[in-house]
Amino acid sequence: MKKHVMFHGRECPHCKAMMPLVDRLEKETGLSIERLEVWHDEKNADLMRSYRPIFTPKCGGQLRVPTFFNTETNDAICGEVEYEKLKDWATK
């Protein structure tokens, strides 16, 4: 798994809205964000569930998508966010 991961759902409008921002982030920073779909891929879903103790305190007590996760710092943000917030998360 890469350092930066985006857990997303294929039919989640927030995830869909964030995709162009993730593309822009990759282009501007040179970072690579691994995109893992969780409703149609059980392996990805299990992986996301394994991070439940880290994600839920930051995501309203639930597993929500999109969730952006830095596997090195355990920093996670979830939901549709402004580009600058996404960039801050990625470049910390």
Binding site: F7, P13, H14, W39, H40, R49, G60, Q62, V65
Partner: protein
């Protein structure tokens, strides 16, 4: 702990800590008897052939919102995408789970993400002028709200 209850007169099923005093369907008093989850599943699955389409679901949630302070999002493209996910999740995972969250494989927790969920307690809705449920299917009405799609 919640359990299943059956009206001995009309076979209405209730899921709760205690049964309703009066059956909302047949109006008979003290009509509910405790049953097993298996019985409840069989009774509720009786009209198994009856399809519940996306149009049926849209009609149901529009009716559900009529007397509430929230409405179905008028953004039809967003609603269509969400419905694709909700129905896909029902086919693949058993219930109409929210496409913008994920099951944790604990039934009690997972029931909290079945659409419509109890979104009025969520930080994306509670106390906000333009509140909405996490996925955006339901939005708080404003004075300038459009009618349901």
């Amino acid at each position: 702990m919640k359990k299943f209850w059956r009206c001995y007169v009309c076979n209405d099923i209730h899921y709760g800590v205690k049964p309703p005093e009066i059956c909302p369907t047949c109006a008979v008093k003290n009509a509910y008897v405790l049953i097993s989850a298996r019985e409840a599943k069989t009774i509720c699955g009786a009209p198994a052939e009856a399809d519940f389409s996306k149009d049926d679901f849209l009609t149901a949630i529009q009716k559900f919102t009529e007397d509430n302070e929230f409405m179905v999002n008028p953004d039809r493209a967003k609603v269509d995408l969400l419905f694709d996910g909700i129905f896909s999740n029902e086919r693949n995972h058993g219930l109409k789970y929210c496409p913008c969250r994920l099951m944790c494989k604990e039934l009690e927790e997972d029931l909290k993400i079945v659409c419509p969920c109890n979104f009025q307690i969520h930080e994306t809705y509670k106390g906000l002028d333009k509140g909405e449920c996490w996925c955006g299917l339901f939005i708080k009405r404003s004075k300038t709200s459009e009618v349901n799609p």
